[in-house]
């Protein structure tokens, strides 16, 4: 049972992914190809980036419901900067990312200073950012600039003539960077400690306030990056982008083993899992969608049902195993 604890979230996510891949390969000969795998990254880049940010907050025992709205707001602001203000792409992207981090930071400040449940703070953030996005642009704004289009259609050449589209490249790079950061940084140990037991973390001398502010800022920046990728792939900024993204991101993170622990109250996670788990969760999500796409039914319904089933399976598995561990 001890070994289970050590490898659990990753192994489960990877196992589910492998199982789905095998199912896909038996049903469809072309399923297990490098191209499909690369497309998987690109197609799920927006969800993936949002999940990365949201998982960090969940690891720290919080919750961020504002990721979808913030992504939408970011895409709209980006489009405005590029189209109306004529800003160069790098400046626009940098501005949008800074804005995301700042908005995230302010949510963190509210959670910390007013001791409000993160659920409510980020819920109001969700309304506010969506409202701001809508008031900036009710209709979606097409981005026609040459530089942006060039960037949007660019891709990363890989071995064997394969190419990774820009969205996928951003997701992969962000995931790798965050993964490396998770291993190296002090911040990440603090996130885990905070999510594991806030009181213990305080007694151990962890600067709780600073850590909370940092993680919400991080989540905000990742939401904004998701908005940037949305703007890249759709060549537009849209105030209705990323609707439902926040809950999908939480679901993907949970499948990846983040915050599955018992206790901790209603609106808190429990500091389990990590970045790799979150990525796996996103990929599971994506593979399910792909499988259903390959099946030709084209129904979002099946994706959701399969996702729900997957969540349920993991939850029961966790419960059974934890119980056995206790009695052992």
């Amino acid at each position: 049972m001890r070994t289970w604890r050590g490898i659990s979230p990753l192994a489960r996510g990877a196992g589910a992914l492998a199982l789905l891949a095998v199912v896909g390969a038996t049903l469809h000969p072309g399923f297990l190809s490098a191209r499909v795998a690369l497309d998987l990254l690109s197609d799920n880049a927006v969800l993936g980036l949002a999940t990365l940010g949201a998982s960090c907050v969940m690891i720290a025992g919080g919750l961020d419901l504002s990721v979808g709205s913030l992504a939408a707001l970011a895409s709209v602001v980006l489009a405005l900067l590029l189209e109306r203000a004529g800003a160069p792409p790098w400046a626009a992207v940098a501005t949008v990312l800074a804005m995301g981090a700042l908005l995230g930071l302010s949510q963190g400040a509210l959670v910390d200073a007013l001791a409000l449940p993160p659920f409510l703070v980020t819920l109001s953030g969700m309304f506010l950012f969506r409202g701001l996005a809508l008031s900036l642009a009710a209709e979606s704004i097409g981005i026609a600039g040459g530089k942006w289009s060039a960037l949007a259609s660019s891709s990363l050449p890989l071995v064997g003539g394969l190419r990774l589209r820009v969205g996928g490249a951003v997701f992969a790079a962000a995931a790798l960077a965050l993964g490396a950061f998770a291993v190296r940084s002090r911040l990440f140990s603090r996130l885990h400690a905070l999510g594991g037991d806030e009181r213990a973390a305080r007694l151990l001398g962890i600067p709780v306030r600073r850590t909370k502010l940092a993680v919400y800022a991080l989540s905000g920046a990742f939401s904004a990056l998701a908005g940037v990728v949305f703007a890249l792939t759709s060549a537009s900024g849209s105030s209705v982008a990323g609707s439902g993204l926040e809950l999908d991101a939480i679901a993907a993170a949970v499948v990846g083993g983040v915050a599955l622990g018992p206790g901790g109250g209603v609106f808190r996670g429990r500091g389990r899992g990590g970045i790799s788990g979150a990525c796996l969760g996103v990929l599971v999500f994506g593979v399910i969608a792909d499988l259903i796409l390959f099946q030709g039914t084209l129904s979002a319904g099946w994706t959701r049902v399969a996702m729900g089933g997957m969540l349920l399976l993991f939850l029961s598995l966790e419960r059974v195993l934890v119980r056995r561990e206790r009695t052992a």
Partner: protein, 500 residues
């Protein structure tokens, strides 16, 4: 400095709203000494430790470190001054690796982040100092509790501590694990560390401590040299013998009465041996034992709050299913738990609701008027002092909360009351009221089990008494055999006194 105390507390006083938690405590701690701090729950041990480690600031008195007065604003300052503590509440993150737990908030490395390999090496070194050799990348939670505790100590020592505070370090350990921890502690003493050791297992205290300070109700009763004292003397100091002899019941059984509770070879978590329990109508059985002796566990097993593994419990002739509180309540067997705040009172519900909550099953008709009448009657009968029956129960004093819990059960017309420390942490007047109430109820034919760490109280209230030692029932005393000396001996030494 070499001969003076590392730490000296003088006249430390701490008040919380409504209670004086510590009242002029003096304590000194020399290098190379293990100083044990003992006392029952609520004696003030934890508060004293929190003051020592900077969690609370004292309202009065002085802390001197190496002769210089100090004030700690927070735990970090105390840590920096060289006082390390292993708190009772967990200061570890089980999901994280051993190395992470050792170096959280002080990870080695530079601007480019944590230097993992340095962290591993330093972790191994820190663990070696307490005699451990572990895979530092494994999750801390995957090791047994004793090892986790040792890791916490290793962390504390790695902070260059000169004084180490251990708050019940063996509470969650089994005997063998506790022994290895004690060996490590005595090793640290040999290296000149000044150690405060809080515990409630007297065997351990007498095995490890050089001096023993006893606290009771926020006051220091005395400091004993280990070689010059006995367990008996320490237990007497803890439980306050002779402070108030009070009345002693004659202990004469009033003829044959109907047996209402019959527990046979009940076994379950927290107790090392199966036990029997018999209770007749109108009888009060005292349950004496130190903290951790299994007295609460016993009550929880009987009441169904904890699922028993084996054995049977019969109330009024009907068998109770294991682990089913509702069935017990319906049969007339009810428990007031020791943890009044976390398991008894509904702090945000009104006094009326707190009293009415257990009486009816779900979907039974409820009327505010009838509840108010019931609560009013109970408040009068138990003289519950509250401004208003609609007042939040969380705002009541401890004694009144206890009476509310009793009222809640009396409203269900029970046959057997299981009372776990019903007078703990309440003021003297309320204590006497609760004791009198239990006697009154017994006179009306109710049976009760009365757990208390105050022996004079057991003698005053109970007809019979059972003593627990080291999670076993070791003696049952009644009639002439029930006296203070026999009880103290049974509790302290685990000797069976005169049998029933």
């Amino acid at each position: 400095m070499s001969s003076g105390p590392t730490l000296a507390l003088a006249g430390i006083t701490k008040r919380f709203p409504g209670v004086v938690a510590l009242d002029g405590i003096d304590l000194d701690l020399f290098p190379g000494e293990v100083h044990a701090l003992v006392g029952e729950n609520g004696a003030g041990k934890s508060t004293l430790i929190k003051i020592l480690t900077g969690v609370h600031a004292p309202d009065g008195g002085e802390i001197r470190l190496d002769g210089r007065p100090v004030r700690f604003a927070d735990p970090r300052e105390a840590q920096r001054a060289g006082i390390a503590a292993i708190h009772q509440e967990p200061t570890r993150i089980p999901e994280m690796s051993v190395a992470d737990n050792l170096f959280l908030a002080r990870e080695p490395g530079g601007t480019f982040g944590v230097d993992r390999s340095a962290m591993r090496a330093r972790s191994r070194a820190a663990l070696a100092r307490v005699g451990l050799d572990l895979d530092v990348d494994r999750a801390l939670g995957s090791f047994p509790p004793a090892v986790q505790q040792m890791v916490a100590i290793a962390r504390a020592l790695d902070l260059d501590a000169r004084a180490l505070v251990l708050d019940e370090p063996t509470a969650s350990l089994d005997r063998r694990e506790a022994e290895s921890l004690l060996a490590a502690v005595s090793d640290l003493r040999a290296r000149g560390l000044a150690i405060v050791f809080i515990g409630h297992r007297l065997e351990e205290i007498f095995a490890i401590a050089d001096r023993i300070t006893v606290l009771r109700n926020g006051r220091k009763v005395g400091t004993f040299q280990r070689e010059r004292t006995t367990r008996l003397a320490v237990v007497e100091a803890m439980l306050g013998r002779g402070l108030r002899e009070g009345r002693v019941r004659s202990g004469v059984a009033s003829g044959p009465a109907t047996r209402v509770l019959e527990a046979r070879s009940v076994q379950g978590p927290g107790l090392d041996a199966p036990f029997d329990l018999d209770l007749a109508a109108g009888e009060v059985l005292g349950l004496a034992g130190l903290l951790g002796s299994g007295r609460s566990e016993l009550l929880r097993l009987v009441s169904g709050a904890e699922r028993r593994r084996a054995g049977s419990v019969r109330v009024g002739g009907c068998n109770l299913p294991p682990g089913d509180v509702r069935a017990s309540v319906d049969a007339g067997l009810v428990l007031t738990p020791e943890e009044r705040k976390s398991e008894g009172i509904f702090p945000n519900l009104s006094v009326r609701e707190n009293i009415a909550v257990a009486r009816d099953r779900a979907f039974a008709p409820a009327s505010k008027v009838r509840q108010r009448a019931l609560a009013g009657e109970m408040a009068q009968r138990l003289s519950i002092a509250c401004a208003d029956l609609e007042q939040d129960a969380g705002a009541l004093s401890g004694g009144n909360q206890q009476k509310v819990l009793l009222a809640r059960w009396l409203a269900t017309r029970p046959k057997v009351l299981l009372l776990d420390e019903p007078t703990r942490g309440i003021d003297v007047g309320a204590k006497v009221e609760v004791q009198d109430l239990v006697r009154d109820l017994a006179a009306q034919g109710m049976a009760a089990v009365f757990v208390s760490s105050a022996l004079e109280e057991i003698l005053a209230v109970c007809d019979r008494a059972a003593a627990l030692h080291a999670r076993k029932v070791v003696a049952e005393l009644s009639g002439a055999a029930l006296d203070l000396d026999a009880l103290v001996r049974a509790i302290a030494e685990g000797e069976a006194g005169a049998g029933p």
